[in-house]
Assembly symmetry: C2
Homo-oligomer: 201 residues x 2
């Protein structure tokens, strides 16, 4: 539980404090960039500057490493939770800001992309995505309306997943190189519609 021993490394700033964290960071990067299957323990260990066996020592298995390292940063869940506060009329825009922002920050982006990329081939990753959509998005929607909240949540989720894939994985232009502010502008009305609009006219 500790491993604080070697925490005497580098006085302060970023760069992982402990070897364990260095491995976690490398793993997140590789899972996000290559997906679960193409990311290898040897590659992750190499990027972290250690031996592959050490990764197993610390995390038990590749699967366990994935699950542990792909936990949503608490900050994201909090941001989602706070979204219900504020005028309903601009809820879509606030959601767009949180989503796009989450995809800008390297830490949370690698978690989200790692999940989505791996969801295509790894059942556990698919379960993570499913859970996040129904629980976190579902909670937000439930706070806004009583009209078909589960449907609204999954529609929002599908657009979020599609955005992540198109912009950061497949990298379709002009979306891939578009400034974040523009993406927010484009998505806000659609999120607004999915959240509180008339679903079936």
């Amino acid at each position: 539980m500790s491993s604080e021993r070697s925490a005497k490394r580098s006085g302060r700033r970023p760069g992982p404090t402990t070897t364990r964290e260095a491995i976690a960071e490398a793993a997140r990067r590789q899972f996000a960039e290559l997906g679960y299957d193409r990311a290898t323990l040897r590659g992750i260990a190499g990027e972290a500057g250690v031996d592959a066996a050490l990764v197993v020592r610390f995390y038990g298995s590749k699967d366990a490493l994935f699950l542990e390292v792909m936990a949503l940063p608490p900050a994201v869940a909090e941001a989602m939770a706070g979204l219900a506060d504020g005028p309903t009329a601009t809820a879509g825009r606030r959601l767009a800001e949180v989503i796009v922002g989450m995809l800008e920050d390297p830490r949370s982006r690698s978690v989200v992309l790692g999940r989505i990329r791996s969801a295509s081939s790894h059942p556990d990753a698919a379960a993570l995505v499913r859970e996040t959509v129904t629980r976190d998005v579902g909670r937000l929607v439930a706070a806004l309306t009583d009209d078909e909240p589960e449907t609204r949540a999954v529609l929002v989720g599908s657009q979020v997943v599609g955005l992540a894939l198109a912009r950061h994985v497949v990298r379709v232009e002009p979306l891939a190189s578009m400034p974040a502010a523009a993406v927010i502008d484009y998505l806000a009305p659609v999120f607004q519609h999915y959240l509180v609009g008339t679903l079936r006219p």
Copy 2:
């Protein structure tokens, strides 16, 4: 170029006519269900009832097999092309019908899912998705408006990809078990907005 010899199989009905087609069908199914990495030549060959070496004989390599078998059925491209005809006010609904319909038919669905699932780990598959969005969707949008057609195309594409992933890969409820008609109803307004609506209010 021929291989019509053994076409004397089973008088008529579906089921592949030739061994080559049987392999192609099995390959599509497995690529769609498992993605490029998890689908194996041995597995595909097994489902087709032949040896793995024969697959290589016919198609050259796993990569070549993927590309050849994942070509868009001409029917889909035609359907997309015909979408521009008709009232602009219902273009979004027509598009939703084509997209959802394409995901209902087993043949075209396996192609689309195979591409999207594999796009997460296989660069060639990502290129296929990119190309389809910019070219096929792009053509449709260009026939409808002159206002930022590339942006509109990629926004539509992102929602299409997200729908496919959420409904058929991750299988988030209630979207996964929803009847096609309902999905069309939900998506039509959003497609309509992306196609010809005011993008940045």
